[in-house]
Amino acid sequence: MIREIIKELYLEVLEQTGNELQVLELVDEVVLLESGLDSLGFAILVARLDERLEFDPFTIMDEPFYPSTFKEFVDIYEKVNPNK
């Protein structure tokens, strides 16, 4: 569920920032900073997800961690999700 929302908003932010997907598909092993979104794009994605899901895992995590792959990114949202 969360994975699908992330994918949907990822593609929206990609369009919003005028970027294109640099990989065939957003699969687990995709390296975030090589996927098409730059760090500003990820910042926007986190803000858009906060708007939609009403939580920002990066500010509520006990041990701050920055993801490098798509799987790590999704895991953070699934793990920290206060609504599960």
Binding site: L40, A43, S68
Partner: protein
Amino acid sequence: MKNIQDSIRAVPASRIAVVNKTDEYSYGKLALLQKDNIDTINAIRGSSVVIRGRDKLEFYLILSMLDGQVKRILFLPADIDSSISEKYFNDAEIDFEVSLESNRLSCCALNLPFVLTDNNSLKENVTEWVIPTSGTTNIPKLVPHTFQSLTRTGKLDVERGEKYRWGLVFDIYRFSGIQVLLQSLLGGSTLIIAETQYSMSEMLNLFANNGCNALSATPSFWRKVLMTKESENLVLERVTLGGEIADNNILQALKGKFGQAKITHIYASTEVGVVFSVKDGLAGFPATYLNETEDTIKMKINSHGVLCIAPKNTSKKYFSGDGIYDAEGYINTGDLVRVENNRVYFLGRNSGAINVGGNKVQPEEVELILLDTGFLNAAHVYAIQNPMMGSLVCADVILTKEHSNEKQVKSQILKICRENLESFKVPAIIKCVDEIPMSETGKLKRGVK
């Protein structure tokens, strides 16, 4: 020590001073480079020169050769508009533009003919460094410094410095980059230069391959570093943050990643230099810093909640001759702060300027573009906090009656913004609202939301 060459000669000649991807210079080679170019240096001795938009390594080499030889060096980053450059050249009475190719210094006369007079002669081998502030909200101001004024607090310790290999990611033309350059120079350390055009992985591979163990960067840069696999290869002893608010999140994340490193966040400005550094690994700074001591700079929080600082020597002026300090000797930093549990926390800019990963955005500029789209009755641009970039640009907008299809209008507005604004200025979030709050004076409310 009066200039860079004095400090270069205090370091063992075989030690490596600076490297980038393709080149390497020992401290001995730096001294030789000046010797090899002495004819050109003699021809421009005592003049005022500009280094404009050259690569970082080239800048480093030229500065090391000319410091103590010319009257004045204007540091002109590549991002300064050419119309402003002309004004700077006139103000700073620039005679030559200098460059370096294949270790050969060359100069191009901008102000003919150059005649050495008492007026433009070099005083006691001290060269004036003219450094632009980072202000992107208006024309950057020029601040005069010297090697001596910038190294006053730094001690030359070439024994301790031997083990450090500093990575340079900041702009070397500006205070933050110069600070890293000087720190490495005074320690007789090695500076590893990442040129502006390098990608993140290129930078980090360069650092790892050259044994970088000390790195100074903005919190936004650090967040990006932590998102890379290459960061696994970095073994850091010194981690320094500056230029933006360092929040607990990034400080903790860095501690988790580089546990053995000494983590410091620095508060500095081009005008004053380093005001203080915080080493306890927590956001903000202890409120006790507000109490003046022998070793600290006097600070106060004014009635608007803005941090003001008063260095002991307040005679310094901007290059234009305008004063930097008020009648009581304070400079208003424009940084809003809040005191909580004996700790002072930074909240953002009093002007409402938004710091997106180190790039400043003036909300009014974005509002003008938004209103120009013709889709809106009103727009209010402000900062929202963000764990990746520190802040992002957010816009509350009121649509006109004729344009009520939110999704369609938003996408058109974004398109126009992208065509007219740099990417970090384009609103990350656009919210359609019914009302936009105003202050009592009828102005949009600025500051932190």
